[in-house]
Symmetry: C2
Subunit: 249 residues, 2 copies
């Protein structure tokens, strides 16, 4: 899979870090791997990776602070120019695990801000660069090698799979993110930009906890090999599991 | 259908007003019909209705202002006491019709506040009264005559029906509301409180516009006779159309 450039948010830890790390080690590796994080100064693991791989660029993206999106767009534009940005991977997210009894309005707001409004506004900011990538690609149709927005969702955000209730902020935000993915997939189709929600499964990260069934390495290998390398028109707008299987909604 | 008491938000216009109006005229009519609205002083049509039907009580509920929820709970408690509140109908909502190019973070926030966080927090406030209604009902199982939370959703909030993209704030909020309904239906089941999202169809209101296919009268007759009077365990947690048909997600 030859992806010319990719930007990953929430790249300082968990699945975001693993994505950057695997793309850095890939052969061929993208020309530019933007590792977006809130606080580049404190991102020690990313700094190590960037020293070893000069195509890894640490970039400040503070979800919720739209001015940081514009600065990031300028920085990426300087590198990629008319080639545009091939993949925007909206990976940054939080998990507020709150019951009906305990959930507050403020927890609902914060989760929606990070998991839904952030990806939407960041995609708006990078849309002109994604469009350039699609326009100038030798590929036709829809693919991650032409141009794509990938939104990291969760099985917890599937209404039909909700058999245990609870987790109000996260469930509501992730299903809303899946809806936004669907609208993007329709609105971007004539531009040649794909939009897909990716369900990473249950992964051993800070967010998934130690009892999870997958290691970050297994999960991201699945997302790269089974999902990103293979999907096209059929998966556009859908929720796709790390195994490559469509599972919604 | 004998519903002892019902509270309807957004009752000063559109489907909310029609709900109050039809329940007021019903035989038997509920003992208490609470018509929740942001500004009772300006609710002239509701005032007329309340003069004619003494069981219609206008009550201030300003979605987003949680202190108004507590005052409303106190007011309802004084009337119903241990009989509790039978049905909470979260009908108040807004429709922000915004494209990808035009949508702003603030529009996303406002829609989520009114259409998702409002119903959730209002349901939390009235939960003890709903539980009392369920506990003290002669009915067993799940029904609108025992105890129910009904959330007014929209076909625009169904991801699988989204074939035209766009409308980001409203689509995202309504599907999130459907998720919350699903979690409530699971969390409340042992209490005997039903939770259902209701899809009213496309109705000639301020929100639906003049080209809509249904009159408010037809829509609310459908919701009362096909949905509220009939549904039970099977519909719990689902999206039910005004026709009585389950259609999700």
């Amino acid at each position: 899979m030859e992806i010319a450039s990719i930007l990953i948010t929430g790249a300082n830890r968990g699945l975001g870090y693993e994505l950057v790390s695997q793309f850095a080690a890939a052969k061929p590796s993208p020309d530019f791997i933007y590792a977006g994080c809130r606080n580049p100064d404190g991102a020690d693991k990313l700094k190590e990776l960037a020293q070893k791989h000069p195509n890894v660029k640490i970039i400040k993206i503070a979800i919720g602070d739209e001015s940081s999106y514009q600065t990031a767009v300028q920085q990426v534009t300087q590198d990629v120019g008319d080639r545009g940005l091939t993949v925007l991977f909206n990976n940054a997210g939080i998990l507020t695990y709150r019951s009906f009894e305990k959930v507050t309005a403020e927890e609902m707001r914060k989760e929606y801000e990070v998991d839904v409004i952030g990806p939407l506004m960041l995609t708006k900011a990078f849309y002109p660069l994604l469009k350039k990538a699609a326009d100038n690609s030798k590929d036709k149709g829809l693919s991650c090698t032409r141009a794509a927005v990938l939104n990291m969702t969760s099985g917890i955000g599937l209404i039909s799979d909700n058999t245990s209730g609870n987790i109000y902020p996260y469930r509501a935000a992730k299903v809303a993110l899946n809806m936004i993915t669907k609208s993007m997939s329709i609105d971007f189709k004539s531009d040649g930009i794909m939009a897909v929600s990716i369900n990473p499964g249950w992964v051993q990260t800070d967010l998934g906890g130690a009892n999870a069934t997958l290691t970050p390495t297994e999960c991201i290998e699945g997302i790269r090999n089974n999902v990103m390398a293979k999907m096209g028109e059929k998966e556009n707008g859908r929720v796709v599991k790390y195994t490559g299987i469509i599972n919604d909604y």
